[in-house]
């Protein structure tokens, strides 16, 4: 957990909707909540393939990727997403996930590299705080 004080620039977050899942209410709410918390949010919109997500993450040099998925396809899609991220050299990005993810799927996702899973009913502030506290500092000093 990083000292929040040392950050002087806005956290950049990519909010992505992988797969065919069209429920974007949660993603949009999260995007606004993060913006209201002072972060710069890039929302990819729907129907993102793992390649698209990785490309967006690289080009935008985001600190955090938030994957929102309510279709149940997370166990199939997340490994592919992580493979793309690794291939692109994005090892220090914080990846979090939200949506209808059953609790028994949380450990497998964490093993892949998901830092936190925010299930249904998670208060916005919980996710915002986690991201604020765990987003990597990129240096450049």
């Amino acid at each position: 957990m990083l000292d929040v004080e040392t950050r002087t620039t806005p956290i950049r977050v990519l909010i992505a909707k992988p797969g065919l899942d069209g429920h974007d209410r949660g993603a949009k709410v999260m995007a606004r909540a993060l913006r209201d918390a002072g972060m710069e949010v890039i929302y990819t919109g729907l129907f993102q393939t793992p390649e698209m997500i990785a490309r967006a993450a690289i080009d935008e040099d985001v600190d955090v990727i938030g994957l929102s998925i309510l279709s149940g396809a997370h166990l199939a899609l997340f490994p592919k997403i992580f493979a793309q991220l690794r291939a692109a050299g994005l090892d220090d990005v914080l990846v979090v996930a939200g949506g209808t993810i059953p609790s028994e799927d949380v450990d497998p996702l964490k093993a892949l590299g998901v830092a936190a899973v925010f299930g249904p009913g998670t208060p916005m502030e919980t996710a915002v705080r986690f991201i604020r506290e765990h987003a990597p500092l990129r240096g450049g000093e």
Partner: protein, 322 residues
């Protein structure tokens, strides 16, 4: 970050590594020493790209138009770097950036690069970072750089400073009629684009724009009015033609180098001002100066004396730093 690692990053940038471009852009945007060092190293490799500014009111279809431009440019083998600029919230400092969705069909095309940037509370619209980002995209090798801005506040004026050709988008029936086009905005446009030409009122809009141009001050270049339907890619070739014509005009009349000189001047001024003003606030906190402020409050000395002292100290500091 050590100088050596910055240099490594710059080398990767030079070899065409996209992640290196992105990372250097971040350092520059965040005003980090690594960014300044990288920019200094790469600046001599700039000067080749043609910069197109796209501005207009929300809802005019800027992103769709930019996407259509990308498609058309790519079809002729031209590489494109895009900076999509959106305003940061003055309240929270955060921002929701970029309509990337409409541009993501290029996700596997290395000839396209899209970066979203927030204004980050810069007074007067576009941040200095946008200019620096333009240099980086230029050095990376993109043929054309498109800067897309929201077009509220002072943005429109700034964009003309950064762009070789500035496109002003208007859309019929958006509720803001010609009368509300801010003073000065029409003058900086090199090409007027009437998008969504299939909507009723398009002809009226074109006519109104023509009239306004006629009434405006004389210029060596009369901005053409190009009608498009960006969603269907209609007349994008006409638009690119107009941009190329404008580019020709600029180089034939020598205006291109004039503009670029002006741009360099503005950039230097802006950077210098920023660096100075960050010093000034600190100087006001120095004990001697603080004491002077107290005297000022008691009406023992006047503001210009204090200001002169502050300026003197800032200059002295800068000289010492060099």
């Amino acid at each position: 970050m050590t100088d050596a690692s910055v240099d490594q990053l710059v080398e990767r940038f030079r070899s065409g590594n996209r992640a290196a471009l992105s990372r250097i852009l971040s350092h520059v945007e965040n005003d980090k020493p690594a960014g300044l060092r990288a920019l200094a190293a790469l600046y001599r490799e700039t000067g080749n790209a043609y910069v197109v500014g796209v501005t207009g009111p929300p809802g005019a279809g800027k992103s769709t138009l930019t996407n259509a431009l990308i498609r058309a440019y790519r079809a002729r083998g031209t590489t494109v770097g895009v900076l999509a600029v959106d305003p940061s919230s003055s309240l929270t400092g955060g921002a929701t950036l970029g309509d990337r969705i409409r541009m993501l069909e290029n996700f596997d095309d290395d000839g396209v690069y899209i970066r979203s940037m927030a204004t980050r509370g810069e007074m007067g619209g576009l941040s200095t970072a946008v200019g620096a980002a333009t240099h980086l995209l230029d050095a990376f090798g993109f043929d054309v750089i498109v800067i897309e801005t929201v077009g509220v506040g002072q943005d429109e004026v700034d964009i003309a400073e950064l762009a070789d050709s500035t496109l002003l988008l208007q859309v019929p029936g958006l509720g803001d009629s010609i009368q509300t086009i801010k003073a000065g905005v029409l003058e900086i446009a090199d090409i007027l684009v009437v998008n969504k030409r299939d909507i009723s009122g398009a002809d009226d809009l074109v006519r109104d724009l023509r009239n306004m141009l006629r009434l405006g001050e004389r210029r060596t270049w009369t901005p053409p009015i190009i009608e498009t339907l960006a969603l269907k890619g209609e007349n994008i070739s006409g638009l690119i033609g107009a941009i190329e014509k404008h580019a020709e005009h600029l180089s034939e009349t020598g205006e291109l180098s004039q503009r670029r000189e002006r741009r360099a001047r503005q950039e230097v001024l802006r950077l210098a001002r920023r660096w100075l003003s960050s010093r000034l606030a600190d100087i006001l906190d120095e004990p001697d100066v603080s004491a002077m402020l107290q005297s000022l409050v008691c009406r023992e000395i006047d503001p210009t004396r204090v200001a002169a002292e502050v300026a003197r100290r800032a200059a002295r500091e800068q000289a010492r730093a060099n």
